[in-house]
Symmetry: C2
Subunit: 387 residues, 2 copies
């Protein structure tokens, strides 16, 4: 078991109708609010009106149109400008992980005099950030319970995950009913994203019985409940369980004390969605079984055996490589079963830029230090296997 | 899945040799420190000298001799007086859960003008508490990661669990090597305590797949690692895993969103150790299988089936009551296997005060609202079955 230093100061208010507590939570921080959201789905489900009604005594400035794979320009830059112009005291992010990730970059940028990219690219360490409260409408990224975000810069094909303890939300409101209208595509992609967050912590050199059990429970819960959500999008219990399993995804609690893994799946996928703007969870799902196959070896097989037996119920009396291959196939089959397109071709990626992406990943993502180190050639091979 | 409101702001610094960070952590809070500890085991293992050396630039006042089942008089009262007399800015608790529980009561009492018992007995709500930092030397209570404590008042046979968000430690240092010298009796009792914390959350009406997996992983991890610790007290990995599984015990994370259970085992055990000052974990272990047998019914059997199959690997094809009974027997057998005396007689409790204790519990512990409600008669029967 590895040493660790862990703290998550975020308050989680979870359940149906908890949003009534929003004015009290927000009011304790400030009255000047930057309300951030995406393309308008929060208007369709009535949440926008509800928030405006609850906050009628607050001064609200709005930043809308934040996209999936949120963009530095214009969203982060606009948000920072609005915060500075309006003396914003707190950011209220309403939407999924993209809106919240963008809001985190804005929160740090608003307290910094220079170019906010300095912070995102780790050139300068953020000293402070505006406080953030969020209302989550998509079960996926777990951004509501971590201090990281992912921001894309189109002109350079950069998609950077940045992490800073000043970015923990003060409070996250999690009402599963807000996810009832999430369509099948994004329900499935959210599941794949969250499963990958767990797998990125599970596949490692040194883990514990407790952490393995936590991760396996997370994976099984996500699979069962995502299927239930797809069968009945208004199944409260399934939406609730899925939401909470996602919330814990990047917070660390699934695997405190596990050895570092290097998060290779995210390292590879970030380039795919930076170059092609695909849905993050789909990109992850496509890469995952190919990465698994690629790294399967005498060194890694025991981990895949544990995964296969405990997560998919593969017969433990089989040969270890047979168990591992069945586990990898079961991973692939599960993603197919929830409707994820499992080839890069299907999401608009061909072989024309593979070497360029592999080079970008090799230079930027540090995967030579992953659990199973990956060279530029390895990365290109995995992407090619995923076409 | 039930609504919940959750936040744990405590920082966990976990692993071998992490204590080097103590001066920095403590220094950020204050220089006037109340150092609390128990009967001197921290001197035997060299931790007392190490702490004093690390804190040579701090002003230290000491409160020693805090007992297991920590006492209001003299420990809490002495600690409050020392804090007030010396302008203490931060409490450093070095020891197990009893020292930390006592320190929490002192921390609240030091910021209150009246009788500290007002706070512990919930007559008055604490408005603030001195900040607490702790170094844990016994894997058991999880007090290092929750905001509760248990204090005994000898003259009234009260043993009260009090909970207040102002009591979260600022930072808990968890170095598993400090538990190498914990003897077999207290290693086993710590395991039983932590297993009970999990069971008190697991046996409920409404749970989730995720939470069940977390709890089952916690129970299995504790059982496997405790046996390893008993076989080799200096097995770092086993001590580390056991320590962390205990740390999460009362924090809530094992079962956020589960329905309330009423914590019946603790409700009963607190009276046993208040009247007879027995080791808390042993009292819990003795009561547990008798409580399980007592509440086993058509209503509860499915929960015991899940427990039996997933925690003890009982054959799931058997009759459900047969599985449940095997699970209960396996629980009993496990406690026996780690050396816990499994009859109240063996820890000095006879039948002379059962009715008095049952009455005390029925009046004070609210077990009529437990998952399976318990009357005064039920409580007396369970204690009698445990003799």
């Amino acid at each position: 078991m590895q040493n660790f230093d862990y703290m998550t100061p975020t308050r989680l208010i979870f359940g149906k109708d908890v949003i009534g507590e929003l004015p009290e939570v927000l009011g304790a921080i400030g009255k000047k609010v930057l309300l951030t959201y995406g393309g308008g789905s929060i208007k369709k489900i009535g949440l926008y009106d509800k928030v405006k009604e609850l906050l009628k005594d607050f001064e609200i400035t709005e930043l809308s149109g934040i996209q999936p794979n949120p963009k530095y320009d214009p969203s982060v830059l606009d948000g920072v400008r609005l915060c500075k112009e309006n003396g914003i005291e707190v950011i209220l992010s309403v939407g999924g992980g993209s809106v919240l990730d963008c809001s985190k970059a804005i929160a740090a940028g608003a307290k910094y005099d220079g170019d906010p990219w300095d912070l995102i690219s780790y050139k300068v360490k953020a000293k402070a950030a505006l406080p953030i409260v969020d209302i989550i409408t998509l079960a996926a990224t777990g951004s509501e319970y971590d201090c990281g975000g992912v921001i894309s810069r189109t002109e350079t094909n950069d998609k950077i995950g940045y992490v800073d303890p000043v970015l923990y939300p003060v409070c996250s409101f999690l009402d599963p009913t807000y996810t009832f209208t999430v369509n099948a595509k994004h329900t499935a992609a959210g599941c794949a994203d969250a499963m990958n967050h767990i797998m990125e912590q599970y596949f490692c050199e040194d883990s514990t019985l407790l952490n393995d059990g936590f991760c396996e429970a997370g994976l099984k819960s996500l699979m069962v409940n995502t299927k239930a959500c797809l069968a009945n999008p208004e199944d409260y219990k399934a939406r609730a369980e899925m939401m909470f399993a996602c919330t814990l995804g990047c917070n660390g609690i699934y695997a405190l004390g596990n050895s570092e893994t290097g998060w290779p799946l995210h390292g590879i996928e970030h380039a795919l969605s930076a170059y092609y703007d695909i849905t993050h969870g789909e990109g992850l799902a496509i890469i995952t079984p190919r990465w698994m196959k690629y790294i399967l070896s005498e060194k890694t097989v025991d981990r895949f055996v544990k995964y296969g037996v405990n997560v998919f119920g593969v017969d433990s009396s089989l040969d270890k490589f047979e168990i591992a291959e069945k586990a990898i196939q079961a991973t692939y089959d599960f993603f197919v079963s929830i409707g994820i397109p499992m080839h890069l071709r299907e999401v608009g990626i061909d072989d024309s830029r593979i070497d360029e992406m592999a080079h970008h990943i090799a230079v930027n993502e540090g995967l030579e230090n992953a659990w199973v180190p990956l060279t530029e050639e390895d990365i290109a091979n995995i992407i090619r296997d995923s076409l």
